[in-house]
Symmetry: none
Subunit: 406 residues, 2 copies
């Protein structure tokens, strides 16, 4: 068999050598239909990979894809699935084709791979997603449920309570004879949705090999986990730099990779040797790990027209307007900081940022208040938070009232 090999050749011819019903999952990232020639050099400027689009018109392109997609269907097991990474310009034509070949009823999902990326000055919306179409060969496809965590806004109690339908068919919480709510089995989380938030392959990622359109391994891992088990066979007929196969190997799946470019095959072979994967700190730790500002602090910053900074211990934000062409740093005193501590942190960080002016917002009075305005540098401006002022106002009012009561 061809398993665990990479083959140089046209996907159509190579797939012909594979018997019927052999493959568990196929991932396709077909060449896009554009008139441009794609070219990119590797990081060390050693190699150059390029491919040009070879089609004169859309029909020709679709005919090319049609032949290969039919082969895909043939080699797929009855329980197998196909994922097609779509081009924005041809995706709808491709979908029409796939509906024909696999049948509308076997269309499972339109997966949205969404990511954040560096922007550029474009009129219109930033293009921050790609579409992957998911078809199964039959109704009886293999599918591993993946669960994700509940969103923070979810009411966990509600999830744990069991529901029944009442006589009118309305869904209500189940209660026992005493009227107590019945708790169901513990839930595993929210089933995976069809919108996947996976970071775009970082410019500095070690994973990068300098191949155009290289996909993050995490994306392919998710796909492979979804529809295959260990030792199942994964096929990528347009493997490019071989990300699919790297992901498959890491997950102990067998793999077959095909590419028409000899360079690509060599590159993919090297990658499979070393198996470098960039861990996404963002996904692992979650966004919250990067956040040192609470919602309330962000609101304060916004109310003074400052941009929040999440990654800096001394500075919480910068004023949007510069003063004397220099940024003005802002800090909001934290619960557990004395004013003095807060000021010194802000001062230290601001020095390295070349800020001339600093603003510190005092949110609470220190228990032992060693506070002395004059001792602070005069380019540090301290403001009392509204909260603090309001609190103080009501304290004073109370004082008055009690005096009056007497």
């Amino acid at each position: 068999m061809l398993e665990n090999t990479l083959i140089n050749g046209d996907a159509l011819n190579v797939m012909k050598k594979i018997g019927d019903n052999q493959i568990d999952a196929i991932y396709l990232d077909p060449p896009f239909y554009t008139q441009d020639i794609q070219k990119l050099t590797s990081r060390k400027n050693e190699e150059e990979y390029s491919f040009s689009d070879r089609w004169n018109c859309m029909d020709e392109y679709l005919e090319y894809m049609k032949l290969r997609l039919y082969e895909c269907k043939r080699v797929l097991k009855e329980t197998g699935s196909l994922f097609v990474h779509c081009d924005r310009n041809a995706s709808h034509y491709l979908k029409v084709l796939l509906d024909q070949i696999f049948g509308i009823s076997n269309f499972q999902s339109e997966i949205v791979w969404s990511y954040k990326r560096w922007s550029n000055s474009k009129k219109g919306l930033l293009n921050n997603h790609q579409i992957i179409l998911f078809y199964s060969k039959s109704e009886d496809f293999k599918f591993n449920r993946i669960y994700t965590e509940y969103s923070e806004t979810t009411n966990i109690d509600q999830i744990l309570q069991e529901r029944v339908r009442d006589e009118k068919g309305k869904s209500v919480y189940k209660c026992d004879q005493n009227g107590e709510v019945v708790f169901g089995k513990s839930k595993k989380g929210v089933p995976l949705s069809d919108v996947w938030d996976i970071p775009y392959l970082n410019p500095k990622a070690k994973e990068r090999v300098g191949y155009p359109t290289q996909k993050p391994i995490l994306l392919l891992e998710q796909i492979i986990k979804l529809v295959t088990d260990e030792n199942d066979i994964v096929l990528d007929p347009f493997m490019g730099s071989g990300t699919t196969l790297v992901a498959a190997k890491m997950l102990n799946r067998r793999y077959i990779g095909i590419d028409i470019s000899k360079k690509a095959v060599e590159l993919a072979e090297n990658r499979l040797e070393s198996l470098i994967k960039t861990e996404s700190h963002l996904l692992k730790k979650g966004k919250s790990a990067y956040m040192n500002l609470s919602e309330n602090q962000i609101n304060i910053l916004k109310s003074i027209k400052a941009t929040p900074v999440q990654r800096n211990s001394g500075i919480d934000g910068f004023l949007d307007e510069f003063v004397n062409d220099r940024p003005v740093s802002v800090k909001i005193q934290k619960e557990d900081e004395t004013l003095e501590e807060a000021a010194s942190k802000l001062y230290k960080s601001s020095k390295t940022k070349k800020c001339i002016y600093m603003i510190l917002i005092r949110t609470h009075l220190d228990f032992i208040d060693t506070f002395e305005y004059s001792s602070y540098p005069n380019n540090l401006f301290i403001i009392d938070a509204y909260d603090l002022v309001i609190q103080d106002f009501f304290e004073r009012q109370k004082g008055k009232n009690s005096v009056m009561a007497i």
Copy 2:
């Protein structure tokens, strides 16, 4: 003209009455091509709205849409835009059609509306997004840039620095002759991407009026803000329950709504009357939640833990904490109000609400400042906004510098 009216009739016939190049934006949520009959009852089981699909085959459906889309293009101004909310099953066919009518080069974005939703877990991925296609009539379309916050992981201080290319063409940070880093202009944030995370209409939300496929107002607001200014005309040829028009009205746009169902028109008219709007729990921090308060005012209110209120000229919000079991009213001085005016409005409104204490936040100095703290009642507490204090600080600094310069 037909502006600010809702019309009962077939979109094709009604649009024929509109002249060429009249409309700034069109939003379409066309009837889907399914074999089912859509039916849904309103909350009180009083009314029943339904529409059945009238097409025997896809071609017939596409022909129906084609005629109406051509009319849409005709009535659109040269600077106008069209948004088509797509059905999963027909979206690719619709896109082929739109490419023909508007031209591939006027295809601007495939917007992904993503949301979290409860669903019983079928086999496969949870369907948690919908696609909206965005076409402009010409290259020269109106587009208002919307900026969003930077990612948590972004290194903002670095972004503030200016860059140039060195002799090798590498991009490096710009330094002046002393080797000091040069700071560029302040930044506005990240341009809006094409993936929009907007909560699905909460089934219990007041906003829901019992019409199938009702869309959240926030979604429509975003679309309308993106491509129109105040007083521009928004058209919805399949308005259904009229969400588009409600959003348009809230944003001070003119609107025209068309629907073939008489019930729908009545329903939409009622909605426009009452303008009920959900305060989605998920989007509490969302910008557009409160319409007659500016974003800045909302941020101030939130930063003092006050709940904003709408449509009250005297009071902008109430403190979440009561004082002496009475609400405390809060007002933020508006641009065009003197402090005295603001105080008297607040005072008047607070009396009817039985507030003992009032808080007024001063946002600017009156040109002729007749201001006299002592003349105000002593249950009115006036606080200077951070902005004001900061401005004042820098004014004083400037004074110092110029003194030094002398």
